[in-house]
Each structure stands twice: as structure tokens, then as C-alpha cells.
């Protein structure tokens, strides 16, 4: 009876590793076969990564990018969730603001670079602003929708027990909307991390996004470009796993159907 259980646990690591290995092999052979001058093979990238570790840049750049994303993301969340709660609660306000949001939302952060430079100069603040901008709209929309989807039954029950409007929002609407808000948090974190390459185009001098752009600019160092891409991907994976932990909390888990 033990055998099936162990099979499962072993399998959880085996299949993804197998997929990764197959991908690496395909990558290597396609580079060899196509004779491309630009795209590096996995071995080149590995050497590039070793070089980054050797120059002490790997951790430094990762931390730099993470700190910029942290500032931009957290400030977007701190402003976006309350704003979303208010907009979701007062449909009239939402109707007024919604067209504006929907117009600004699709504009890529890269297009905001000149504006960002004009307002914040060049450097970390401008880069953090771009990350803030990219994170703000998804989280406010997710919160708005979460609030709108709270069943009126809960609101009625809250009023029934004599809660003031402020308490109603804090004690009923917010917890009820929390699963959807947490999903919004996860998606927004993904977007914030995605934007880091664009954000670090503004004359900063460190970070994973900067590494991508800089390696590209300095000639033929595409091995570093792909190494930076892989690092960005792995860090993004780590962030996603961390935020999924929040979804497992009991006070939020009720919102997600599949249990196992």
C-alpha cells in the first residue's frame, strides 16, 4: 500500500525535470543545426552565468531588480486595494472612473518612459514608477470586481447585525472579496516582474533588466542576454510560488474550489 504514495512524490519531481532536460537538448541541437550567429547554445549560457557569478553580479543584480519591483508593487497594492474597494462599493464612482482606467491600462510602460523621465528624472525612482504603473491597474480592477461579486446576502447580513458602513467594508466586503483580490495580487506580481526589463531601460546601472539591455548593447554578448532571461524567469517562478502560499491560508482558501 505504500508503493502508490511514493510513486506520486517521486513523480512530482521527475516529470518536470524530464521536460526541462528535453527542452535543453532541443535547444542545443536547434542552435547547432540552424547555424545561427546570434542565439547562444545552452553551454554558452552556462558559461555566461558562471561569469556573472564570478564577477559577483548575479546576486547583486537580482536583489536590485527585486527591490525595485518590491517598492513599485507594494505601493501599487497599498493604493490600489483601498481605491478598488471604494470604486467597487460605489458603482456611480466606478462608472465615472472606469473609461479612464480602460484607456490608460493597455498602454505599455515603455511608452511611459519619456513621461517618467520628465517627472522623476533618471534612475531608480523612474524605474520604480514604471513598475508601479504596470501594477496599479490590474490590482485595482481585480479588487473592484472582487467587491462587485460579493453576494448581496453577505452585505445584508452585515447590515442586519448593525455594522456601520466602514465596518461593513472592513469586516464583510473585504474578507468576502479577498480570494479574488489574492488572485489579482498574484497576476499583478507577475506583471510587475514582467515589466522590470522595460523599467530598467531608464539609465539605471544595475539589475536583471539592465543586464539584458546592456549585454545586448555591448556587442555580441547574447549569452548574457539569455542568462539574464533565465534568471528573470526563475525569480519570477519563485515569486509565484511564494504568493501561492497566501492562497493556501484558510481564510482565503474557501474561495477556491479544487481541494486535494
Amino acid at each position: 500500500m505504500n508503493a502508490p504514495l511514493q510513486f506520486d512524490r517521486w513523480e512530482r519531481y521527475f516529470w518536470p525535470l524530464l521536460a526541462i532536460n528535453i527542452t535543453l537538448a532541443l535547444w542545443y541541437f536547434s542552435v547547432r543545426w540552424s547555424g545561427t550567429e546570434i542565439f547562444p547554445s545552452p553551454l554558452d549560457v552556462e558559461r555566461g552565468m558562471a561569469e556573472l557569478v564570478h564577477r559577483g553580479l548575479l546576486w547583486r543584480y537580482t536583489l536590485n531588480s527585486l527591490s525595485r519591483v518590491a517598492f513599485g508593487y507594494v505601493s501599487a497594492v497599498l493604493i490600489g486595494i483601498p481605491a478598488g474597494l471604494v470604486l467597487g462599493w460605489y458603482p456611480a464612482a466606478a462608472d465615472m472612473v472606469n473609461p479612464l482606467i480602460q484607456v490608460i491600462r493597455p498602454v505599455s510602460p515603455i511608452a511611459w518612459i519619456p513621461v517618467s523621465i520628465a517627472w522623476f528624472g533618471i534612475g531608480d525612482t523612474a524605474a520604480t514608477f514604471l513598475i508601479f504603473l504596470a501594477s496599479f491597474f490590474p490590482i485595482i480592477v481585480a479588487t473592484m470586481n472582487g467587491v462587485r461579486n460579493v453576494p448581496s446576502m453577505y452585505r445584508c447580513a452585515g447590515r442586519n447585525f448593525g455594522l456601520s458602513p466602514a465596518n461593513l467594508i472592513a469586516k464583510v466586503v473585504l474578507p468576502a472579496a479577498l480570494p479574488q483580490i489574492v488572485v489579482g495580487l498574484r497576476i499583478t506580481l507577475g506583471i510587475a516582474w514582467l515589466v522590470v526589463v522595460a523599467a530598467e531601460m531608464i539609465a539605471v546601472d544595475s539589475g536583471l533588466g539592465y543586464l539584458v539591455i546592456d549585454s545586448r548593447n555591448s556587442g555580441k554578448r547574447y549569452d548574457l542576454v539569455v542568462a539574464a532571461m533565465i534568471l528573470i524567469g526563475l525569480t519570477g517562478l519563485g515569486l509565484d510560488i511564494a504568493i501561492r502560499r497566501i492562497e493556501k491560508l484558510k481564510s482565503v482558501r474557501w474561495g477556491f474550489r479544487n481541494e486535494h
Binding site: 519619456p114 528624472g121 533618471i122 555591448s218 556587442g219 555580441k220
Partner: protein
């Protein structure tokens, strides 16, 4: 008609509509079909970015349309040097206008190219805030200045100026920025100065927020910035096509030197049809003063390039030395030196 059929029709109708409109309005068919011509007949592509230094490229293309015989080449506009670099390396373009240090760096990293001609002389300047505190270059200590790339002569000129004033490299902060962003950054005082090629200094002057501190030629007589590089395999297989290209460029350069009216005409058609820039801006860059950018004496000279190479090694962007002959092929420039300017009058439909 069922809902499913309706949806399918809508989707494919929409796809068809925008594809049709796109291919009619936007697609450059000459460029695409070129790839399917047999090798000998295929025109080769020359890459450029919309700066005044590369003006000879669109000028040649435009004028040669009016002359007998076919167009010489297909020009392709890019937005930045990294994209040109990648296109050049993977043979999507066969020739390109790039900055001289980048050409040297690429060659030393093993990309098979040769410099065959220059793009221009002069044409770069250091611009400061109009009402700012910087009066002479000595005031640049501790300030922030934007450069287009570490592989640019605009950076090297700063080092030459710093040497003249005894300023050490770590006393000035240089940041790499995309050229289109520097005008706005200067206007909002995000940076204290920038060192760029035309038309960005002109843009700052015209906009009223910039003042030229000095032109590049003040610290570097015979300043050169952009060069024309061609892939080695192109030179080996179709040298006569390369020669035609260089001839055309040379003639365009001489044509631009013929006088003010020709330059103004060039500003007009390049600004409208090629660069999407305001013709008034290009006119300013080309005529105020008339020798802001020069398009003659475009044959590569060893002394110029050796100096660039030495400065590159000194400032740390080049690891080891590389000899002039390794990356320059002078044959084409020699042949082109006997050419005369285009015989094309502004507004006419006939050129020769």
C-alpha cells in the same frame, strides 16, 4: 445561419480585412519580394537610423530613383543600433551605417564586416541647459551627462575634452540614454547635459531649452562619427554592387555640399518621406551654420581610426588592439573619389 457560422465568418472576415488593409497600406513589398529574387539580382539592404549623420543614405535612395538604371539598394530604417547590429550579424541586412567605435568593436568580436566609407564629418555637439549654471566645460565636474552608447564617438569626445581641462573620468557621471529621450530629459532638468549627434542638439536649440556648449570639432578637428560598413561576404561576392553603393553615397555627399538650396531640399524630402521628422528641424541642423554637418572628405583615414581605437582601449571599451587594415577596405573609397555630384535640381524629375 447558425451562431457558429456567424462567428467564424466574423473572425475570418476581420482577419482578412485587416490583413488586406495592412498589406495595402503598410507593407513594403519591395523589401519582402527582394528575398525571393535570385542572388545576383537581389538588391541588398542598407540599414540606417533617422539621424542627420545617416542622411546620405536616404538622399542616395531618393535621387537614384530619378536616374536611369535601377535603384541601387533598399534602405531600411531602424530605431536603434542594437537592432541594426543583430540584423547585420544574422545577414538580414548586408550593409549599415553605424558609429565608428561600434564597427571596431564588432569586428574585434569576430563579426565579418569591413568599413568602406564614412557617413559624414562633424555633426555632434555637447548641449547644456539654456539657463543653467554650466558656462565652460570645467563646470561639468560632478554633473550628469547623457551619451547615446558607450560605443560612440560622442563619448570619446567627452574624454578628449576632459583631458584638455584636466578632469578625471570619475568626476563626470555619464549615463547611456536613447537619443530621442534626451531632449525631454534636458528640458525637465533630469540631466545636466547631453552629447549627441544631430538633430538632437538642434532640437534642444529650437525648443529653447538647450544651449550648445561646444561642437565636437572644437576638440577633435575632422571629427567623424558614423561609418558605412558592409558584410565581408557581400564584398567578396558582389564587389561591383558595393562599388555602386559607395559611388552613390559619395555623389550624394558632394551634392549636399553644393549649396544651401540643395540642403533645404534634402531636409524636405528626407524629413517627410524617410525620417518622419519635422523638415524645419532638419533644415536647422543642415544649415545653421552651413558647416554644422559636412558630407565631403568621406574616405576613411588611418589616423582618424587609430585615434578612435586608442581612445577606446584607453577608456576601456576595447580589450585588445586591432589594425586599420583588418577592418577597413579602402578600394571602394579610392574608386569613388573620382566621382562627381549628382546632377539633380530640387523639385525636378530628372537626375543623372
Amino acid at each position: 445561419m447558425s451562431t457558429r457560422t456567424r462567428i467564424l465568418l466574423l473572425v475570418f472576415g476581420w482577419l482578412g480585412l485587416i490583413s488586406g488593409l495592412h498589406s495595402y497600406l503598410n507593407v513594403n513589398w519591395a523589401f519582402i519580394l527582394n528575398d525571393y529574387l535570385p542572388l545576383e539580382k537581389r538588391k541588398f539592404t542598407v540599414a540606417y537610423i533617422p539621424v542627420t549623420c545617416h542622411l546620405v543614405c536616404p538622399v542616395t535612395d531618393y535621387i537614384s530613383k530619378f536616374s536611369k538604371g535601377d535603384e541601387i539598394f533598399l534602405p531600411k530604417m531602424f530605431q536603434g543600433f542594437p537592432e541594426i547590429k543583430e540584423a547585420l550579424i544574422s545577414n538580414r541586412v548586408q550593409a549599415a551605417f553605424v558609429v565608428a567605435p561600434l564597427a571596431i568593436a564588432l569586428k574585434s568580436q569576430g563579426v565579418p564586416i569591413k568599413v568602406v566609407y564614412l557617413g559624414h564629418r562633424y555633426g555632434s555637439a555637447v548641449v547644456v541647459q539654456k539657463d543653467g549654471p554650466i558656462r565652460t566645460f570645467a563646470d561639468m565636474r560632478g554633473k550628469v551627462i547623457a551619451i547615446p552608447s558607450r560605443f560612440s564617438d560622442e563619448r570619446l569626445i567627452l574624454y578628449r575634452a576632459m583631458k584638455a581641462y584636466g578632469i578625471r573620468p570619475n568626476e563626470i557621471k555619464m549615463v547611456e540614454m536613447a537619443p530621442p529621450d534626451v531632449a525631454g530629459a534636458l528640458a525637465t532638468k533630469a540631466i545636466d547635459a547631453f552629447s549627441m549627434g544631430e538633430p538632437f542638439p538642434s532640437e534642444a536649440e529650437m525648443g529653447g531649452f538647450g544651449r550648445i556648449l561646444f561642437h565636437a570639432r572644437e576638440y577633435w578637428p575632422d571629427y567623424m562619427s558614423c561609418v558605412l560598413v558592409v558584410r565581408q561576404d557581400m564584398i567578396d561576392r558582389r564587389p561591383e554592387a558595393v562599388q555602386t553603393l559607395v559611388d552613390g553615397i559619395a555623389r550624394s555627399g558632394l551634392w549636399l555640399e553644393k549649396g544651401r538650396s540643395y540642403r533645404e531640399n534634402a531636409a524636405d524630402f528626407v524629413g517627410r518621406f524617410y525620417y518622419n521628422q519635422d523638415p524645419a528641424l532638419l533644415r536647422w541642423a543642415l544649415t545653421k551654420p552651413l558647416d554644422r554637418v559636412l558630407y565631403n572628405r568621406l574616405a576613411p583615414r588611418k589616423a582618424d581610426f587609430d585615434m578612435v581605437r586608442d581612445l577606446m582601449i584607453e577608456t576601456g571599451v576595447l580589450k585588445k588592439g586591432i589594425e586599420f587594415d583588418e577592418y577597413v577596405d579602402l578600394r571602394f573609397a579610392d574608386h569613388a573619389s573620382i566621382k562627381t555630384a549628382w546632377n539633380y535640381e530640387p523639385g525636378s524629375r530628372y537626375a543623372q
